[in-house]
Structures are given as structure tokens and as C-alpha cells.
Point group: C2
Amino acid sequence: MPPTGKLARSTTALDVTRVLKERILAGHYAEDQFIRQDLIAQELGVSRIPVREALALLEAEGLVIREKFRGAVVPRLSAAEIEEIYALRGLLEPYLLEEAIARITPEIIDTLDDIVERSRRASDKTEWAGLNVEFHRTLYEAADRPLTLQMLDKLLVRADRYLKMQRFMSPQTQQESDAEHMRILDCIKAGDKDGALESLRQHIRWNAVDVRRTVGFDS
Amino acid sequence: MPPTGKLARSTTALDVTRVLKERILAGHYAEDQFIRQDLIAQELGVSRIPVREALALLEAEGLVIREKFRGAVVPRLSAAEIEEIYALRGLLEPYLLEEAIARITPEIIDTLDDIVERSRRASDKTEWAGLNVEFHRTLYEAADRPLTLQMLDKLLVRADRYLKMQRFMSPQTQQESDAEHMRILDCIKAGDKDGALESLRQHIRWNAVDVRRTVGFDS
DNA sequence: TGAAACAAAATCGGATCCAATATTCTTTAT
DNA sequence: ATAAAGAATATTGGATCCGATTTTGTTTCA
């Protein structure tokens, strides 16, 4: 039996959940294709029990849908769902930003400056994506609204699956995104709350437009 | 071949999930008290496997917290979490109401009228609570925003646990709540969107005040 | 007597096994 | 030859069993 590595704190089920989530977000499983428990179990060297728990958790996150005695599939994302996700981002993120501004410290601002700087220098697309996430995470964690942040995370995970599948992030979009982050950060430094909020809303709108354009909606 | 539009048959794990959720919402388990898998399994006449899956799902909903090799407990709700839930209601519900108004039909309005009428006549507290939920559900389903509604539901479940535990709903509060529902409905009929939104926000604020008063926060 | 050390019991996470159901393949009738 | 019917296979959900860890109880020593 191959050792599964050092799982001192985590459980096998959570490890499987993490692996499957990464795979799904990487577009490893085609939509409407069944994810076979047995195969996953063999690939990861575990039994089907933690695989089943992982699939149950992923269903709760909306990343798969299970049908009794049939299996789990990655569901298609509808245009309506994408639209809804961006509408919800437009509600949640300004709220988080507002609360973050009320609680932000010079240390956090320094951290954000650093992230933006590294983001601008980033050449690798994956590295840039990581820094992009880190920027928002650092900023929003300052808001001290764990429930809201958790809800937002789940929304972004759903959207991310789509975005990564579509490979839509152009260098131009990256530049524009960095610039918008800087604008938000500058507004925060200047104590311009409304300016920061407006920049954020613009940021989200641009994101939404990008997605629509790439996906080619009509709705 | 028979039509595939058959209802999704329930699985044992989902049945256990439903039972446990009902129990938790009814305050059956004390906070910080371990929910023993073996006991649940015996009580329900099933094995521990579906019980474990149920607990995993309930953890994803925030109704329990599991610690490795220790078990699952109903977590305490902090004052901060209550506040956050109401803040999020204040974001999500106006959005849903706005979308609902844009799509509402005379039939739905009739249904809502009926619900309010029955709610006003309701003597039993449980019946009233059910109608209260039905009013919001009917109204918000008209918004056709399933993700948002699902998020709201999960928030309300968390809050409900607290409210039911505290048994806070006084007759006076019921009357006031019914009146607010009528006000919202009247605004919708009159095509007064802003009025409806303002009534809703007031409704949520009152709810929040009610909770704070009953719970007796200070933090 | 009280606390540390050790043993016993309880409980959990995971593995293996079995039953229920779905899917695929084969047979058969027209 | 084709489509319905039935057998064989595949896959899932659940039950039973096992090792790991925590908790509880007992013993021993200062």
C-alpha cells in the first residue's frame, strides 16, 4: 500500500477533495462526463469512501452534480449562472471593500503594494493569476467578514472553472487589471472610499465584459 | 422507455442530513456537544457511513464543525456572525426583490396576497413561521436567481437555528412582520419599486434589531 | 493524597465486502 | 436485419470490519 504522504492534520477525504477540485478547475474533466469513484480511488491509492465524501462536498460547492446510482458529473455553466455570479460579486465585493477600508492598517497596505508590484513584474501567467488572487484575498481578509469572504470564494471557484477552461486572460487584460488594483489601492491610501468603491465596481464590470466577450453570449 | 422526468429518489445520506438538520434547527443538540455517529446510526437504523456523509454536508453548510478523530459539534454562533448574516441579507434580499419585481406576474401577486391573508389569520406559531418562509420564497423565486436564493437560504438556516433556539418571535413581532409584508406587496402592486425596496430594508433592519434585543448583545 | 503513567474503552476515518441499480452486451422473435 | 427482452457487466450506495487516535479509568509512586 503506497503511503499517501504526510497527512498529519488533514484527512484523506479532504486531500481527495483538494485534488479533485484542482482537476476540475484545470478543466481535467469534460462537462457531462462521469467521474468514476473507482478510478479516482485507484489513481490516488485510497478506497472509494473518501472519494465519495469528496464528491459529496464538491456537490455542495456546486462543482459537480451527483445522480443516484449514476455518478458525479461536472455540470455545464449556463450564461445565466455566469451573469448571476458577476451580479453577486458586484454586491459582495463592494461590501467587503468598504469594511476592509474601515479596518485597514499600514502594514496591510504595504503588503498590498508589494503584491501589486510583483504582479506587474510577473511574466508567467500562472504566477500572475496567483498574485491576483492574493491581492483580493489580502484586501478582503482585512474586512474581517469571514462568512462573506467564504461565500465570495465559492462564487469565484465556480467562475474560475469557466475562466480557466476558456483560457481567456490576455496580457492586455492583465495590465488593465493591475492598473485597476493600483487605482483602488491609491484611493485607499488617499482615504477616498467612494473612489475606491467606484474603481472596484469598474473592475468587476470589466471582468464581466471580458467573460461575456470571450464566451460569446447573446443573453 | 418511461419518461425520465422522474423525481430524484432520495438517498439514505440525504435522509439523515434532513433529520439532523431538523434536529439542529430545533435546538436538539446543545452547542459544543459532540454528535456521536454511532448513536445517530442506531437511532435511525442505518450504518455510520451515511451519517458521516450527512455530517460532512452539514459542515459544508456551517451547521456543525468536525474535528478529526473527535467528532462533530454544533458551533456557537458569535454576535459577529449574526451581524454579518443580517448585513448579507441586507445585500442579497433587495437584489432579489428588485429582480423579482422585474419579472413578477399577476398570478404570483395573487399567490402572495393569499399567503399574507392566511398569515394574518394564522393562530399557530409554527403555521405562521411556515407562511412567513413561504412568502419570501414565493416572492424571491420570481426573481429567477437560483444561486442567490440558494446563498440566502443557507444564511437563513444559520440564523434560524439561533432564532428557534431563542424562541424570540412574539405576537407583536408577527403582526409587525405581516404589516411589512403587506406594505412591500402594496408597493409592488403600485409599481413603486423604490418604496418596496425601502420597506424590505426596514423589514430586515427590524429583524436584526429583534435578534439583538432578544439575544442581548453587547459585543 | 494527588498527580503522573499506564491500560481500557470509546470513537473516528478508512478499507473491504455486499446489495441495489444502471448500463452494456447477447439472444431471440418477427 | 432490427428491435425488444433478458443476461452479464459495471458502478454506485450502504453495511461490516479494522487500524488509529482520543478519551476515560485505573494503578502506581512521590
